[in-house]
Assembly symmetry: C2
């Protein structure tokens, strides 16, 4: 028996059984009238004892988009994906699952339709791999909410989806500044010196992260006072210099007598339990640990409160890592491994058995069997096996964190990154893309994933710029940083044992180039912040595939360019030794902008078409759409350092263009009470010159500091016209 | 003290110390007069106790090409490479060494120069990774032959290099047919059924490989009679149907009393020894094995003779695998691992020690320490540590094989693939590119490596089409097979446990497409064989980067197209869901050939420039150069099935074109005695039509069967003119 609900227009819910309430959806669907149906739209279904398989024949031209954090091409067709949140440190192309589970996708062909399978355990999606013409979805549950979205185009389907799952999270404005991380800056001295380097080298930066080594023995919510003496003073001093400090918080709580978090969690029964009622134990960074039962609201409340001390010291940025949750091994797993070794040890010529040892040790981590061996105590008193709601662990941890931070910070916004996530987590956290590598191939992965994650509501996201694992080269970090300009989260991060990759880690010529890149990012923040907020207001992704925005069928092949807001198309270079790249410019004329720095920006005009465009290493290749405007400001050391009173409006206008510039205080939620501005900027061609004006919808609640707009307007011949308006 | 030799014009040898005679070079350089010098051209040098470091400052525009079997871009700048032959089964981008060691490269910039470092142990080449502007080469020996080549361009430098190291190996003509492999076709029945499938599905095929499971307990030079009863009859029957069977031969000899190869090798002292004089033991497929001491000519002779029985049964194709040599583990290594586990076992909370176990087991294979622990007995009575000549092990094994086969086969040519190789091995063996993966990313790796290996003399080479590891999709195998048309070795191969990827392993539409692809390969064999032989005669690579052939600076960026002989430019599609690709057409007009099959070939004409060109899944994108000719024939089931009496000459002529068609018996070395033909084909535009003729330089020694040439000539407007000449 299937229940069918019609939710809003264009959204239909097919309910199988009695699904777990994941929290992905913000609409109270149970209040809507339903009817019972036998069949569902779109899919053939096959209901088994413990799973449901949904099948759909694909036409040759059908594309599939979405699935959030996943590898493979932007068009997901031709690969198998698996929603089962996984701590995988080697993102080779065949991998089926990463840290987040995002079972929302769009089938785009003769008909265009969105699908969201709200089910928090394993979902296997074969998007035409085994059988080229078959989309086959195996959901490992018979309690499922299946949502189907119908709209006239892909952008509207995403809009409908967001009306169901809620609008994306809004970080503070400084979260659009540059962010620096490394596993790990080992002590206060190092972090301070990193901060000083940024300032003395004149490289803007807003956030510095503390990876696991700031803790005492990797115990969450502790600080190693030997490495970070006078933590509160440290945070305050860094804040004074314009740096927010973002400590890592893992879920695993070290089993240690006298360690407050452990003692409290244990005594209150807040950890996940094995079938026998004992706390489940797994090993992660601190050694043997317990796992908080985040599925329970009391545990979430407790956990959220644990941030208090850190928040009091002035911290409002955190990252939640390891929350798939990662398990290096369990005591039982290790014991079995030892027995295997003992058995093989007795053989004279072990031969192939060597591979059993290898497979066994490599298979000890993040085992399905371990996830099936512990349980959650839900609010309603029911007990549920972790495996059944595995994909929600990171979601619930981030929810605990964000609820806690909201309470502790009041009207002040927070920056939160979570490694694991589920649909809906975009409402209260950002995610980053996990442990990528310093591979050129991972820049294009980053480019594609920005687009796919935006489709699933994660507008503010990004990968580790420069790559986390392996050693990076100067050229790689430069090219990747150029992409970073157009990555909402612009964070450079690298792993223990790898080459340093801070902006100054290479030669001085490289430092100069990266400084200019980061400064240009800061110059663009008025545009980026304005576009980000408007994207949320309009439920339209900040980052969109060009094929979603323009109609030319050739664009289905273009996965390495993307629209970044309404005016800019990014076309990052992602191959080594490149003196340029191919670009397809759709539909209209484009201004090709090769940006060396704020003051040195080469401009040329292109007609629609495909081109190989030369671009030197110190140039960021950017395109501005015909009849559109980009607003910039002089870069600062950090967001909010100085009041911005002047904007530079760079425009490419062959007829007329307008731009609505949104701004608010960037720090609080007062915008919800009307404290924001919408500044409308207009440019119109007339008699070989341009008329410019702006129309200030200043809110009574929020003071607009902008007094002057300089215009730099290009016509179709690349001739520039400059204007200034002040008030 | 450095000795300087001038060899031919344009080649200078700088000799450090007393280098090991690797056999890479065919010129007797010791007969040439030398003078002592202090400095060497090109490099700053730093001679240490046990190594020499060569440094050269790179200009911003300098590119580096060559290095044969390696990952990274075609322009090798910006990465670290390591010549130390390695059995690496996961070709992720950061890897520095694969199976072969090919320390020849070209520095191309203000000055263009070739470098060959003839030294058979570890060489680290940092091509501007650590320091963007520094090429730094660390040779782990003070006995080195360093050759420097100066010529006016890159193609001439390769020509000079080949004049030093000898001309490439010439396989039988049927080696240009399609080849099918899998780890493993388990028995005679399966192989016969595979053969029957090819014939009944009308898919051409010439060679089927036997992977390790044909052997009795993985003992080399044995056949498991249970799986392959009446082996001689099996080979004969397959030959009758036009299939050559190519068994694998590994170097490791199983330690087993009564096993003839082991007993003989042991009694004669033919295995590599440890310092204590005992045979060195490592584990590979058969379990504990000994490693033949191929550095010794007596051992090579012995080994070459072991092929006798197989050759007598009609086999003339072999592949030498695992000859880096691969070592899964040594008894001592395993013992140390067990002790480590025992130590960790005692800890209550092992925590991070888990990673020590993991690293230890994963590090047991192919360890440098193991390579340093055994020795070779050289012909001159000297003993040398394996590590000092590590990169020659595969070279010597393939030499042993090829010398043996030459003796056993007499005037009949053989097909030989070796996994490991060193410069010079191209004279007597082919190599394949080892254990790649069914990743789209590995198609472009294949494209680049074809070009880099050609530069090092390995003209006849190829990767496992469809990918060895991981599961492949229909689309991947189709697109990769389209590249296979232009891969001299066109072999589909896949690993144990992965999805089958024979041409019929997917759906019937896929089978139809792959059939047409393979048939088109066969149609091209007259061109391919002719171009291959001419490439050897002219010491000019069969496969060349477009930037080596044409001058436009944009071409430095084009690594995904290549010249395949003089008339064809290949532009394979290597991304999923693609409806086409970008192509840069240099210098002249090009005929764009979208080949569905022999009879259905869409043609359009392009001016020089960069384009996005649409191309359906069933179309192979190919370009024919202005004023050039391609010769084809109707496809056959296998090479030599029927006499070819008619050629189709497809040409794109705006003025005049000529083509020299080379052919010989394809089976013997009689071409060396003049038994070959050069058929000169001419097309000339005149008065809106074309004049065609051919000039038959028929050798008195070799009968030319061609009686008719059909011409299909396109003009600059894509209009076709057909002509026939018979005699």
């Amino acid at each position: 028996m299937i229940k069918k609900y019609e939710i809003f227009k264009n959204i239909t819910l097919f309910r199988f059984g009695d699904p777990f309430k994941t929290g992905a959806v913000v609409v109270d669907v149970d209040q809507i009238n339903f009817k019972e149906v036998k069949d569902i739209y779109l899919f053939d279904k096959n209901v088994g004892l413990d799973k449901v398989v949904f099948n759909k024949t694909l036409s040759a031209g059908d594309s599939i988009y979405g699935l959030g954090e996943n590898l493979g091409s932007l068009n997901k067709r031709g690969k198998i994906y698996r929603c089962y949140s996984s701590d995988d440190f080697l993102h080779t192309p065949e991998k089926e699952a990463l840290y987040g589970s995002h079972p929302f996708f769009i089938i785009d062909g003769d008909e265009t339709v969105g699908v969201f399978i709200d089910s928090p355990s394993e979902i296997k999606i074969d998007a035409g791999f085994k059988d080229t013409n078959l989309l086959s979805i195996e959901v490992s549950s018979t309690d499922i909410d299946l949502y189907i979205f119908r709209s006239k185009n892909k952008i509207d389907i995403i809009g409908s989806f967001l009306s169901l799952v809620g609008t994306p999270y809004i970080p503070p404005k400084w979260a659009f500044g540059y962010q620096q991380c490394r596993w790990s800056y080992p002590n206060r001295e190092t972090v301070e010196s990193i901060g000083n380097q940024f300032r003395s080298l004149d490289i803007p930066c807003d956030v510095i992260y503390l990876d696991i080594d700031y803790m005492k023995d990797y115990k969450v919510f502790t600080v190693d006072e030997n490495k970070f003496p006078d933590f509160e003073d440290f945070i305050a001093k860094m804040l004074e210099k314009g740096f927010k400090i973002a400590p890592i918080i893992d879920p695993g709580v070290k089993i240690e007598d006298g360690y407050e978090v452990y003692e409290e969690g244990k005594s209150k029964g807040y950890f996940c339990k094995k079938e026998n009622g004992l706390d489940f134990v797994g090993t992660v960074w601190p050694g043997a640990t317990c796992y908080p039962d985040f599925a329970n609201s009391k545990v979430r409340e407790w956990w959220g409160g644990l941030y208090e001390e850190m928040v009091k010291s002035g911290i409002c940025a955190f990252w939640n890592d390891m929350n798939e949750p990662a398990i290096f091994f369990t005591p039982d797993g290790l014991k079995n491994f030892y027995s295997l070794v003992d058995k093989i040890k007795e053989k004279k010529d072990p031969g192939f058995d060597f591979f059993s040892i290898k497979d066994a040790v490599n298979g000890l981590s993040n085992k399905r069997e371990d996830y099936q061996s512990f349980f959650h105590n839900l609010d309603d008193g029911k007990v549920i096996c972790h495996d059944k709601i595995h994909n929600l662990y990171g979601f619930f941890m981030a929810l605990a964190t964000s609820d806690g931070l909201k309470k502790l910070l009041g009207n002040k916004r927070y920056l939160l990154l979570s490694r694991s996530s589920y649909i809906g987590a975009h409402r209260f956290t950002s995610i980053w893309m996990g442990d990528n590598q310093s591979w050129w191939e991972h820049i294009i992965v980053n480019i594609r994933m920005l687009q796919s994650l935006n489709m699933c509501g994660f507008f503010y996201t990004g990968a580790d710029i420069g790559g986390f694992g392996c050693n990076s080269s100067a050229e790689l970090v430069i090219r990747w940083s150029q992409l970073g300009i157009f990555s909402p989260l612009f964070r450079n991060h690298s792993a223990l044992g790898t080459r340093n990759q801070e902006p100054w880690a290479f030669d001085s010529a490289t430092t100069d180039i990266i400084r200019d890149i980061i400064k240009f990012r800061y110059a663009l923040i008025p545009y980026i912040y304005s576009e980000y907020l408007k994207s949320i207001i309009n439920s339209r992704c900040l980052i969109l595939p060009v094929s979603f925005v323009f109609d030319d069928p050739i664009l289905k092949n273009i996965e390495d360019q993307f629209m970044f807001g309404e005016s800019i198309m990014a076309a990052p270079i992602y191959t080594p030794n490149s003196g340029g790249r191919y670009v397809t410019l759709p539909d209209v004329k484009w201004l090709c902008w090769k940006v060396k720095n704020f003051d040195d920006r080469d401009v040329s005009i292109y007609n629609p078409g495909s081109y190989f465009i030369n671009c030197e290493l110190d140039e960021t290749l950017t395109f501005v759409k015909e009849n559109s405007i980009v607003v910039l400001t002089r870069p600062q050391n950090y967001v909010g350092e100085k009041k911005i009173t002047e904007l530079l409006a760079v425009a490419f206008v062959t007829d007329r263009a307008s731009y609505m510039y949104y701004d608010d205080d960037g720090e609080t939620y007062d915008f919800q009470k009307g404290k924001f501005i919408n500044l409308n900027i207009f440019i119109e061609k007339s008699d070989g010159d341009y008329e410019v004006y702006f129309n200030d919808e200043e809110s009574a609640e929020y003071k607009n500091d902008i007094r002057t707009i300089k215009f730099e307007i290009y016509d179709e011949n690349g001739r520039v016209f400059t204007k200034i308006i002040s008030r």
